[in-house]
Amino acid sequence: MADYILETKNLFKEFRGFTAVSGVNLQIQRGHIHALIGPNGAGKTTVFNLLTKFLTPTSGSIHFNGDDITSEKSADIALRGIVRSFQISAVFPGLTPRENVRLALQRKLGVSYHFWKSDAILLQLDGRVMELLEDVGLVDYADEITGELAYGRKRALEIATTLALDPELMLLDEPTQGMGVEDVDKITALVRKVSTRRTILMVEHNLKVVATLADRITVLQRGAILAEGPYAEVSQDPLVLEAYMGSAHA
């Protein structure tokens, strides 16, 4: 039997009579890059929000490493090792990239409630901070104001911050959205690089990226799973072609 890091069982989410997610059974195999695709409004981001408990499912359950995490809070889920990125770049815009990454590392020191200590004790993290910034090519921008960086760099910073937590499962919500071709290639390479020793679940519109990266694909349509399998298989599925690929290639 395959080793699933994350499973959802019959997941539903309704918003005042509108069913955004309807009976989704998702199984993410450990070590895979798993892509979630589907036309606009198919419920991809809603599924993400359910998995990270930014939304509460109407019914159904979510299991991580075999444990039922359906009733846990967002912060607890992050502590378990599921860390997400957001569709619009999630950075702390008024802080520097150095501080952004440091905030992710700081939690492990266990001093985050210590308001009586000087923040100089955080300097011990700087070595690791710079390594992570190096990985995403942001060393030269470490002390700029994040809000003033170019879009692609903010996304790279977000990935560096997420990596700092060393998550078991990384959820990436459209990592290449709104990027130029050059940045897309960079991020694709970066995602591949960081996928060793961890599992990635990503929502992605860019099918070229999905074809290059994903081990397995789930296609959502109107909140329900339409097809699932490796890219080569799914991309030939007549249902998928009709619902999604057809329009995407048109």
Partner: protein, 313 residues
């Protein structure tokens, strides 16, 4: 920030009673601490409380009562007031942080109005009169805070001044330390992007509540100090005008800057005292000043200066 600036500020604080009218200076220190405590919430955590007068005024009543009726020494009175404000902050904060933005502000305002009502009706607060003639007492039972020294022909309560100045420095240091601590870093993260802070695994409610309690406690300490300086705890201290005034001071000086609230409190208190002769027109003048300042310097005095110097002040 540079060490020399701090040294200059401390020296100014030490020699001030020989140059400026000392009661004015003490009032300034009380309100500056109040504004700094408020700024810890608004400027560094992104929470707009519209009920901070409850902590300021509530503590000033408690200190007044403890010193006047309970006969406690002033340092214990101030400690009592501060602890009371911290406890009240815990209660108000626990309720208010469940909501965000304008709803947060409204909850704090509503709860502060309850405190106002208690101050008006309770048997031990003196109703409309407030608590008057609060004794300054003897610090640690030894140093007489009421004792005056003749400086340039007029009596000056130097002991009291230096006690108040020391308390201000203590409070300011606590705030400065909090801002520049690992805890403060997380507060800034919450201010910048709360969902992201959650997704990094921070339990933001706890951080917000702690910041709220620290801010309330220090606002309370400022109120306690005030009740010793003026020997008075009154309804004005707990009214929503006072809650509004501290917002004004913080915005004028520069929200999210260390020195901004000091400058803001200085500006507002100076205007109030210089213009006291013009009567009720004072609110109009301060209102116009505020509008002009907000239009011209959106980041406040210190915020704009910091931007020019490309430094955080």
């Amino acid at each position: 920030m540079s060490k020399s600036l701090w040294i200059i500020l401390v020296v100014v604080g030490l020699v001030a009673p020989f140059i400026v009218y000392p009661v004015f200076m003490m009032k300034l220190l009380c309100f500056a601490l109040f504004a700094c405590a408020f700024n810890l919430l608004l400027g560094y955590t992104g929470l707009l409380s519209f009920g901070h007068a409850a902590f300021f005024g509530g503590a000033s009543y408690v200190t007044g009562y403890l010193v006047k009726t309970g006969g406690l020494t002033p340092e214990l009175g101030i400690l009592g007031g501060t602890l009371f404000a911290a406890l009240l902050g815990y209660l108000v904060g626990s309720l208010a942080i469940r909501r965000q933005g304008i709803y947060f502000a409204m909850i704090t305002l509503a709860l502060a109005q309850i405190v106002y009502f208690i101050a008006l009706k309770a048997p031990f607060t003196g109703g409309e009169d407030g608590l008057q003639g609060i004794p300054r007492g003897k610090l640690f039972g030894m140093i007489d805070l009421g004792q005056t020294y003749s400086i340039g022909g007029s009596p000056v309560a130097l002991n009291l001044y230096y006690f108040i100045f020391a308390l201000f420095c203590l409070g300011f240091w606590v705030i400065y330390r909090t801002i520049n601590s690992p805890f403060g870093q997380v507060l800034k993260a919450i201010r910048e992007n709360e969902p992201r802070a959650v997704s990094l695994g921070y339990k933001v409610e706890r951080f917000k509540l702690m910041a709220f309690v620290i801010s309330a406690a220090l606002a309370g300490m400022a109120g306690s100090m005030k009740s010793l300086v003026f020997q008075l705890a009154s309804l004005t201290d707990v009214s929503w005008h006072t809650s509004g005034e501290v917002v004004l001071m913080t915005l004028l000086g520069g929200v999210g800057t260390v020195l901004g609230p000091l400058v803001g409190a200085f500006t507002v208190i100076t205007l109030q005292s210089e213009l006291s002769s013009v009567g009720s027109w004072i609110t109009v003048i301060i209102g116009v000043t505020f509008v002009v300042c907000v239009l011209l310097f959106r980041r406040g005095f210190v915020g704009e200066l910091g931007r020019l110097l490309k430094k955080s002040l």
